[in-house]
C-alpha cells in the first residue's frame, strides 16, 4: 500500500477510467457480471501510466462482445469484420508506424475465424498488442462452442458437452513468435493492468490472454453460478507462475489456472527487419521506411 495521500479535491471529480471512455456511449451493452468491462478498466489505467500520446493510439476490434471495446474507448477506434482485426491492424500499423496499434477482441474472433491471421502476425512479429478476452464461448451469438471451450463444458452447439481439444493460447502465441505472452484473469486487476502497460511498451507482437466470466452464456449454462462465482473461482484456483513453460498452461474445465508473464523476449519487429534487409540489398538507394 502506498503512503501517498491525496486531497478530495484532487481525486473526486471523475472516475479515472472515464477520460479513456466515450462516456456519451454509456451504458455499455455488456451483461451484469461480464468481465469485459473489468478488463477495459485495467486497459484505461494502463494507458494512463503508459506515457503514450493517446492521439497516436489506435484500437482495432473484430466482432463479438469484446469486439465492442473499440467503440467504447476514446481513441481512434476501428470496429472491423468478424475475425479480421489483425489484418486491418497490420495495414494500419504499416501505413503509419508512429501509431501504437492495439487489437482488442474475443477468443472466437481472434482464434477461430481469425486464427490464421493471429499466427501469421505473430510469425511476422508485427508491432502490435493483442488483448484477447477469453470467456470460453461465443457470447454475442448466444453461447456456441469456441476453440477455447474446455473439454466437457456445454454450449448451445455442443449440448452434450465439448469433446474437441481447446487451444492453449499462450503456447500458440509463443510458438508462433510473440515477444510478450501473459495470461491473467479478470480477478487479477492489478497484475493485468501492469501486464497491459508492459505489453504497450513492448516492441513487436505482444499477447495477453484475459480469462473473463460470461455469466449469461457460459457459467449459467454450465451451472457455475454467476459472474461473481467465476471471479471467486479465479481467485481461489489461479496460481501465478511467471516464466513457466507455456506447454504446461493449458486449461481444463474448472481446473487449475496458471497465470503470469510467460514470455518476454527480444526479436526484431517487421518494419525493422524490412528496413535492415532493404538497406543491405539496396544501400544508399533505399530510404528507410517511416510511413
Amino acid at each position: 500500500m502506498q503512503d501517498e495521500i491525496y486531497t478530495i479535491e484532487e481525486t473526486m471529480p471523475i472516475n479515472p477510467v472515464e477520460s479513456y471512455l466515450r462516456m456519451d456511449r454509456m451504458p455499455h451493452i455488456w451483461c451484469s457480471g461480464c468481465g469485459i468491462g473489468t478488463t477495459v478498466n485495467c486497459f484505461g489505467r494502463a494507458l494512463e501510466t503508459s506515457g503514450l500520446d493517446l492521439d497516436k493510439v489506435s484500437i482495432v476490434s473484430g466482432i463479438g462482445c469484446t469486439g465492442r471495446v473499440a467503440g467504447y474507448l476514446n481513441l481512434d477506434s476501428f470496429h472491423t469484420t468478424h475475425g479480421r482485426p489483425i489484418p486491418f491492424a497490420t495495414g494500419l500499423k504499416l501505413a503509419n508506424p508512429e501509431l501504437k496499434v492495439v487489437v482488442y477482441s474475443g477468443d472466437g474472433d481472434l482464434l477461430a475465424i481469425g486464427g490464421n491471421h493471429f499466427i501469421h502476425a505473430a510469425r511476422r512479429n508485427l508491432d502490435m498488442t493483442i488483448i484477447c478476452v477469453n470467456n470460453f464461448i461465443y457470447g454475442m451469438t448466444g453461447g456456441q462452442v469456441a476453440p477455447t471451450t474446455p473439454i466437457s463444458a456445454t454450449a448451445t452447439t455442443a449440448p452434450h458437452g465439448n469433446f474437441e481439444q481447446p487451444f492453449n493460447l499462450p503456447y500458440l502465441a509463443e510458438s508462433c513468435g510473440a515477444v510478450y505472452v501473459a495470461r491473467w484473469t479478470a480477478y487479477h486487476v492489478r497484475h493485468l493492468t501492469k501486464a497491459m502497460k508492459e505489453a504497450l511498451g513492448k516492441k513487436g507482437f505482444s499477447f495477453i490472454e484475459v480469462l473473463a466470466p460470461c455469466p449469461t452464456l457460459y457459467s449459467r449454462r454450465n451451472k457455475l453460478g454467476d459472474g461473481l462465482d467465476q471471479m471467486m473461482f479465479y481467485k481461489e484456483n489461479s496460481e501465478i507462475k511467471h516464466g513457466v513453460d507455456t506447454k504446461t498452461v493449458s486449461l481444463d474445465f474448472q481446473g487449475k489456472i496458471i497465470v503470469g508473464k510467460f514470455v518476454d523476449r527480444e526479436r526484431p519487429e517487421y518494419l525493422e527487419l524490412m528496413n535492415k534487409h532493404y538497406q543491405k540489398k539496396f544501400g544508399d538507394k533505399y530510404t528507410p521506411y517511416k510511413g
Binding site: D3, T7, I8, C31, S32, V40, N41, G227, L228
Partner: protein
Amino acid sequence: MTTTQEKKVSGSVVITVERCKGCGFCVEFCPTEALKLSEQYNAKGYHPPVLVSQELCNGCDMCGLLCPDFAIYGFRIKKDKIKE
C-alpha cells in the same frame, strides 16, 4: 471521525448508482470489507453498493479497477482533512 486518526490513509468511494448492474465484484473483493450491496434498487432493478462505513475505506480503488460498469471508484483523503 476520531478513529481515522489511527489510520495511515483514509479514503472513500464515488458510486454512480444508475450505472451499476449489481454484479457484486466490488463488495466481494474489497480488501477492507468496506462495501455492501444496498437494500435499495436502482432504476434497472439492481442493488448498487454502499459504503458500510467510510472509516473502513482506505481509498485503494480496487473496486474501481474491478467494476465492469465503471460505476464506482475509490480515492484517498488527506488525513488532516478528515480531522477537520
